[in-house]
Point group: C2
Chain length 333, copies 2
């Protein structure tokens, strides 16, 4: 029996950070052995709220690919490909536009929230408004069975399944229903400033490509307990980002628990805990950084990986779109 | 200097009628000599409010093409092509989605009206809501300079030019601004029931493919002056569909004017006027019907014409989309 298909990916709007590592990258490295994994570099989706700046895409596609390779996504078993080079995605999106109503799209809570957050000045671009439909095309064109998502992305999967059911019923049953894969032990890593989310736009991220000094500086500047002013005072663990990170990354949980107790009863300074976290992170990031440097030496090799992955994805896409056109009786000639 | 480009077309939702003949077909036969004319058979647009019935498209593409050939659109000088066979149209539409905001689209009065008229039950399909954007792609992909439109379609041209300006400014100046061509002496032919518009859905149309008997029956059933009960009574010309048609179609205007006077002062019966109109229409429709029959004999020849036109259009489309991708810096490989 052939492996189940999994679709995952990122917008190439900047290099990837520890939040991506915890939230998805680590997981992909595991999943690629069990599943037929497609990794989409979503440059067209990046344009939906950033149409004026296509010049950032090419550079970031390269950076993101380096990050993928550095963490261990293996292009021999995972298919890494670029969205804009698969025009079949735009074609399938176009067909799906007819299968969703405007009010249904307006009800999508994920999009509602994002529109609020993004604060579009003169109005939401139509491309952004309809991106759940384009995302449904990304998923179905590769006949994905599984999509790893955070809990906040669940409405996108429901929207995708609505479209799949409508297509299958209206034309022909060719798309499998998609399941979301909410990975165990995966949460959302806060930023180094303690804010709920590590993100490029908030300027609170530790990047996989940061050098050792930068990582150390960022760790030493992390948000802890603002009331823990003197070493001998008791400190709080809840909301203390340094300890949150230790929970995520430290391999020796007993040591972390001892430090937590010590910190809470007083006598353990922030600097000491941060130094410990720095060691933990360097342990994880150094081999990633080394591999990244190694891959970065040969830009042509990266290009070759992207061309091959994209070609493989396109072959798949063309087969599906042929089926789609036949189902829709658009194969006149 | 090369000829200016003109884009025009129809949705293949049924055979064409006298309303099309008056409103556009006649005009295209003239325009094809002066311009490089692309004639789009808009099957994808037909799906935007009819996604459940793709099976009607193939048959009607064939019927519409027969109508084109029968009225004298010459496939040697006009490019007749099928929208769905040019996937570059869906790709350009996708890029344009980012250049229009949702409120701007909602302000489009043509779409507003159509949405009201169509009475979509559970909500407007997104494909229908965004069809002005897809129409802009139809126009710009072929770098059309001119689009023949009725006055009610003027907002669509404005929307297209908004998109063109935004694209040219954001990426690169590659698209010409479009002018609408509102043809002289062209109005909107009422239906045989006197309603403002001849249309398939209203069941009040005389088709180019109707046989002589059907035409005669339809003419004899036409709406005249409902108060003109006896031949000797004076009758009204205003709103009298038979006279409206005579104004459009009768070659001898003096004769028509004499009949109008006679009708108004009394003594001229509806049947007599209708018989006259029938003669006038048969004079126009007989040669069209004959040519249509001739062309209909060889379905393969029609297919060949469509394949060749579509291939020519696609070659043009692929050149434009290459330029588009370069302008948007999406040409990574």
């Amino acid at each position: 029996m052939s492996k189940k298909i999994i679709l995952t990916g990122d917008r190439p709007t900047g290099p990837l950070h520890l939040g991506h590592y915890v939230g998805s990258l680590q997981n992909r490295v595991k999943l690629q052995n069990e599943y037929n994994q497609f990794v989409l570099i979503a440059d067209l989706q990046a344009l939906t709220d950033n149409a004026e700046h296509p010049e950032i895409l090419e550079k970031n596609i390269y950076e993101v690919t380096l990050d993928y390779l550095a963490v261990g996504i293996d292009p021999k078993i995972s298919t890494i490909f670029i969205q804009s080079q698969i025009p079949e995605l735009t074609e399938l999106t176009f067909y799906f536009l007819n299968l969703v109503t405007v009010p249904r799209l307006q009800r999508n809570p994920t999009v509602k929230n994002e529109i609020k957050q993004k604060n579009f000045g003169t109005g939401v671009p139509v491309g952004f408004f309809v991106y759940p439909i384009s995302q449904a095309a990304d998923i179905t064109l590769f006949k994905a069975n599984l999509v790893p998502v955070g809990a906040d992305q669940q409405p996108m999967i429901e929207q995708t399944n609505d479209i799949i059911r409508k297509f299958n019923k209206t034309y022909k049953e060719i798309f499998p229903i998609v399941e979301s894969l909410i990975p165990k032990d995966v949460g959302r890593l806060p930023g180094i400033d303690g804010k709920a989310k590590m993100s490029k736009s908030l300027g609170n991220a530790i990047y996989l490509s940061d050098d050792a000094d930068t990582v150390q500086k960022k760790v030493m500047s992390m948000f802890t307990d603002p009331n823990h002013l003197r070493v001998e005072d008791p400190g709080k663990i809840e909301g203390n980002t340094v300890f949150t990170y230790l929970d995520y990354f430290a391999p020796n949980k007993n040591e972390v628990n001892e430090m937590k107790e010590h910190y809470q009863r007083g006598g353990l300074g922030d600097v000491k805990v941060k130094k410990y976290l720095n060691e933990v992170l360097q342990e994880i990031l150094t081999p990633i950084r080394e591999r990244r440097k190694e891959f970065a030496k040969d830009k042509n090799e990266i290009k070759k990986i992207l061309i091959q992955g994209t070609q493989k994805a396109r072959d798949f896409a063309q087969k599906t779109i042929k089926e789609v056109r036949e189902s829709m009786k658009l194969n006149y000639f």
